[in-house]
């Protein structure tokens, strides 16, 4: 029987890892993701898993060991945040290029400087071109469910890509909330065993990973990664459908909240969608036709479903928890590109909010919605919750 428990986003990841019982976890502590390897270490110490836990000396070594273990044929998981993610940056494209299906609990935290331990999406947004799948989660339940689904999506043979399961640092990672857990045997049956292609440890069929590939082949190999990304949406939808059958919990590519007949839509990611949805309800009560579109799958970017959700709107507000200094914010750029490709011109405002963990309140969401309703539109970046 599924059981409910009051737990945190981090512990939910650790619990998923206990049930997944991966072959190898190589991890290094960094706030706010530290709870994940810490909790998991207790499971190892108590014999609840028989994972080979490699407590490395840096994030760079963590991801290097993960890539090496993954291409060796092992099922591999890890977690990190912010500067740890940045230190791993060199190895992320290597993991993707070697088609290493690592599942990574990414607990979003702002990048220094100034040094700050709280949430924004600057760390994972800096990795948006590293060739990984990115999924952003709204709450602890979704983090737990997505971590389990991620194993299947990443390991699917026509995908074979590493995957970030992102949750908001402290807001989700440290917030205790009721989460429903699946039975261990149900999880294990759902994920199955890894069946690796070309494992390094198959000494009878030796392979080389990491060849020097120059002007004559590099481009073709990168093109294969583009192709792999094209298979992700279907793999995601297949896995999510199977997951929904077992749990009753549905996870579409994007989460549409009262968008069907909405004139004004806010596009947002992760935990801040909570304040946005709350505001949608309040403004609906006042007669405003508003809705919230939360992007779950960010890489590959599901442009078609997003355009379908937005095309009937009169105006939209795109909210980014990251800035692209000197250029439009990342989510806003993607949304504009998707609408342009579809030949749809909807007036769009761009808002940056929540940097360094600055709270995003319903009144911040309301401010953005009221701009749309009052036709205060402009291409200039605006800031929610900022003192100026």
């Amino acid at each position: 029987m599924p059981r409910k428990d009051i737990t945190s986003g981090n512990w939910a990841v650790a619990e998923a890892m206990r049930q997944i019982n991966p072959d190898v976890v190589a991890a290094y502590p960094i706030t706010p993701s530290t709870d994940i390897p810490m909790r998991f270490s207790e499971f190892v110490a108590d014999g609840l898993v028989d994972t080979n836990l490699v407590t490395v000396e840096s994030e760079h070594s963590a991801i290097s060991a993960c890539v090496a273990a993954s291409v060796s044929g092992a099922r591999v998981m890890t977690a990190s945040s912010a500067n740890g993610v940045a230190l791993m940056h060199e190895i992320f494209p290597i993991a993707a290029s070697y088609r290493a299906p690592i599942v990574f609990g990414l607990v979003n935290r702002s990048l220094g400087a100034p040094i700050n331990i709280h949430c924004d999406h600057g760390d994972s947004m800096a990795e948006r071109d590293s060739g990984w799948i990115h999924i952003y989660c709204e709450d602890g339940q979704e983090v737990y469910d997505t971590t389990i689904m991620a194993v299947r999506i990443a390991e699917q043979k026509d995908v074979l890509l590493p995957i970030f399961v992102c949750q908001d640092g402290f807001i989700t990672s440290h917030c205790f909330e009721p989460i429903e857990f699946m039975d261990d045997d149900v999880v294990r049956k759902f994920i199955g065993e890894r069946d690796p292609l070309f494992p390094l440890l198959d000494v009878d069929n030796p392979v080389a990973y990491g060849s020097l590939v120059l002007t004559d082949y590099y481009f073709e190999i990168k093109r294969q990664q583009v192709e792999a990304m094209k298979h992700v949406e279907k793999a995601y939808l297949d896995v999510a459908a199977e997951f929904a059958k077992i749990t009753g919990r549905n996870y579409p590519l994007v989460d549409k909240y009262r968008t069907e007949d909405a004139d004004y839509i806010m596009v947002i990611m992760s935990s801040a969608a909570g304040a946005s949805k709350e505001t949608v309800d309040r403004l609906r009560e006042k007669g405003h036709k508003v809705g919230c579109l939360r992007i779950r799958l960010f890489r590959p970017f599901p442009a078609k479903v997003i355009v379908d959700a937005l095309k009937g709107a009169k105006a939209i507000a795109v909210c980014d928890r990251a800035a692209s200094l000197g250029a439009p914010a990342p989510l806003f750029t993607e949304i504009k590109g998707a609408l342009y490709d579809a030949g749809i011109h909807i007036p769009a405002n761009t808002y940056v909010y929540g940097l360094g963990g600055r709270d995003f309140f319903p009144h911040n969401a309301e401010e953005a919605f009221m701009d749309l309703i009052n036709k205060k539109m402009s291409p200039e970046e605006r800031y929610l919750g900022l003192r100026e």
């Binding site: 190589a26 080979n52 490699v54 840096s58 060991a65 044929g73 092992a74 390094l200 080389a208 004559d216």
Partner: protein, 314 residues
């Protein structure tokens, strides 16, 4: 068990012909000799460097055994990850064979940028052998100085100029640093005697736990050395005591070679263009004196730890 050369000649090579290392390069000699005597299947990982780029130019591949390269500074982490996967998969019955794991790195990838990941791997106690082919500089990128480059050598980022006579610092003692990790096997050697290296690597690989072997291996291009002098220059490094040969087995230091006679460091320096500027003028003379002094200090340090004395024939 003693290794016999005639038994090794017919053995399939882990690294086959067709690679693009320079004629006379020490690195392929290290690899060939190192892997010759290992009886178990091996998986190789290498740091970015000459060995890695010259043996794996896609779509060709010189390795007849599994090979992994990811980046420059993480051969220690890579070998940790491979070994961790092996231990996990073996425990779960998915792998049956006994496999050995060897990491190769140049001195840039080992003394400098990869020292942290090597230290971490050694501290964690994975079962692997790390072989540093030490050519005393960043040769793959064009002979920049590393922390293994000897004092007085002209390197492309410490060139012999009119004011500064090449590299002015002493190299770090990486072998002793690795010995200070108190791992089961540490050795320092060079390619002056094939059986000596073959047996040391065999011992390193067969020792459970981490093993580190620091092998001086010339880069003929940037040492500016006749390619045919590969073995001879290594012999001179040993005879001048520029590169002492020793093992540290479970903390016990054991001297591997004692020259019969005193040979001045110039004998090692002279055949190499990188030291040519030292052969004239007062500054060069002073640096050679410093090098000789450093050799005596280092040699006495090693002798003391090995519980040995040295009385050269006159």
């Amino acid at each position: 068990m003693a290794v016999k050369l005639k038994d090794l000649i017919t053995k399939e090579r882990a690294m086959r012909q067709g690679h693009r290392m320079c004629p006379g390069c020490g690195a392929p000699t290290v690899v060939q000799q190192a892997l010759l005597a290992i009886e178990q299947p091996v998986v190789i990982t290498a740091a970015t460097g000459c060995l890695e780029v010259s043996t794996t130019i896609y779509p060709y591949n010189s390795w007849s055994v599994p090979f992994l390269h990811t980046a420059f500074e993480n051969a220690g982490a890579n070998v940790s990850g491979i070994e961790a996967a092996y231990v996990a998969l073996k425990k779960r019955g998915k792998i049956k064979k006994d496999i050995k794991f060897i990491a190769f790195g140049g001195d840039g990838g080992t003394y400098d940028i990869g020292l942290q990941s090597l230290s971490g791997a050694a501290e964690r106690g994975h079962d692997f052998t790390y072989i540093c082919y030490n050519n005393q500089g960043y040769m793959n990128t064009g002979a920049q100085r590393s922390s293994a480059t000897p004092k007085g050598a002209s390197a492309s980022t410490s060139p012999a100029g009119t004011v500064i006579p090449g590299k002015i610092q002493k190299p770090k003692d990486l072998t002793a640093i690795m010995a200070a990790h108190h791992i089961p096997y540490v050795a320092q050697t060079t390619i002056f005697n094939p059986m000596e290296l073959i047996e040391k690597i065999k011992r390193a690989v067969e020792t459970p736990g981490p093993a580190f072997v620091n092998v001086l291996a010339p880069c003929v291009l940037f040492w500016r050395l006749e390619p045919s002098m590969q073995r001879e220059i290594c012999k001179l490094a040993v005879e001048t005591r520029f590169w002492p040969i020793y093992e540290v087995i479970d903390g016990e230091w054991k001297l591997g070679y004692k020259p019969k006679k005193f040979a001045p460091v110039e004998e090692f320096l002279k055949p190499q263009g990188r030291f040519k500027h030292l052969m004239k003028g007062e500054t060069g003379k002073k640096i050679i004196e410093d090098l000789q002094k450093d050799i005596e200090e280092e040699w006495n340090y090693v002798l003391k730890l090995c519980g040995e004395t040295w009385e050269p024939q006159s």
